[in-house]
Amino acid sequence: MEYVWYFLLFAVLAGVWFGLIVGGAASWCALCAIVGRANKDIVAFLRGELAKPSDGAHKDHGMAENYVVWGALLFFTLLEVGLAYIHLPLLIMLVTLLGLSLLKAALIIGFFMHMKFEKRSFAISIIPATVVTILLLNVIFPDGLRSNAFREENVPEEHADSGEGH
């Protein structure tokens, strides 16, 4: 009988894992929608209707905002380097750095690479698939942690010589 419970437990785990990945992609799409004032275009894209390119593509948006973006990128970089000078716990450091890097990436993609001014269907065709594929690679980490647990100095005393305990 307990095997049924194990199976259910693992099924839930699998579901959570799948959900995290798909949820990540979905939230990215949602972000695109909110940031890009483009709900209309997304709906049109999903329905396959003739969507008008977002106005930006045909407005002569000035260079000014690119200078601002450049400044922001330099600023965030300095912020990151500053973090290296104050000694934070590694995990906090990692999360902060990755957060800032994602922000910088979004700025580069959105403004320098012009994604903000492309049609939303273009962004939707390209970004979610990439994000999902990259997030999928997270699945390798449990094994990285396991090999760390197998390192000699990390094996608890009582298991060190008895091999497999069960």
Binding site: K52, F122, S125
Partner: protein, 231 residues
């Protein structure tokens, strides 16, 4: 220009380069064929797809780095000097992205000479990055690898590269390869563009590649350098 006229113009602009360039029927479906549904030039779409694939390659490299880092005790070999150099490199790369934006802008405005100038400046930025990076590489090889190689020769046991330097060279080497290719790409493009061979869209596509190289560095720099810094 009225709304309807604008739509018609847009549709014509996004017709494929093949022999047929019709707009979809009024109220028709963008995905019905005969038009580019994504509203972008095919070359641009193609470059974006390349970027998708390449970003996954870089992601896999950085994930591999994280994997081995998770399963090992990790040293912190980057001190003040390295961090200052790499920060300067980052600034150069970011600024070259800005000049690339200016080049694309100039090309779109049909200011050919200006576009060539900005493109060349971008390539120059890339070149500075490569030079600074190579100097740093040589420093690391001298300070950290040569002693190991010598020790290996003396004890006749051969040598292997410590994990921290293996990941460093893998990630930054792949990135540097991209920068170097990018510099060549930009120089060739600028020279040909000057002779009237390419169009504004080609500058824009090259720009996408260049910004992507910049984008990758935004992850390589914090993960490889800052996470292993000790100042």
């Amino acid at each position: 220009m009225s709304e309807a006229a604008a739509t018609a113009d847009t549709a014509a602009a996004h017709a494929p380069a093949a022999s047929h360039g019709h707009a979809p029927a009024p109220g028709g479906n963008l995905w019905d064929g005969g038009v580019r549904p994504l509203g972008a030039h095919s070359k641009k779409f193609g470059m974006w797809l390349f970027i998708v694939s390449d970003s996954i390659t870089f992601a896999a490299l950085l994930f591999a780095y994280s994997y081995v880092r998770l399963s090992n005790v990790w040293p912190t070999p980057f001190h003040g000097h390295s961090i200052v150099t790499s920060t300067a490199m980052t600034f150069v790369l970011l600024s070259s992205s800005l000049t690339m934006v200016l080049a694309v802008d100039a090309a779109n405005k049909k200011l050919r000479d200006k576009a060539v100038l900005w493109t060349m400046l971008t390539a120059l930025g890339g070149l500075i990055f490569v030079v600074l990076h190579t100097m740093e590489w040589l420093g690391i090889i001298n300070d950290h690898l040569m002693p190991l190689i010598k020790a290996g020769e003396e004890t006749k046991s051969g040598w292997t590269m410590p994990m921290v330097w293996g990941t460093f060279f893998a990630a930054t080497g792949m990135h540097m390869l991209h920068v170097t290719v990018g510099v060549g790409y930009l120089v060739v493009l600028a020279l040909q563009y000057k002779n009237g061979k390419f169009k504004a869209i080609d500058i824009e596509v090259a720009g996408l590649y260049w910004h992507f190289v910049d984008l990758v560095w935004m992850f390589v720099f914090p993960l490889i350098y800052l996470m292993s810094a000790k100042i």
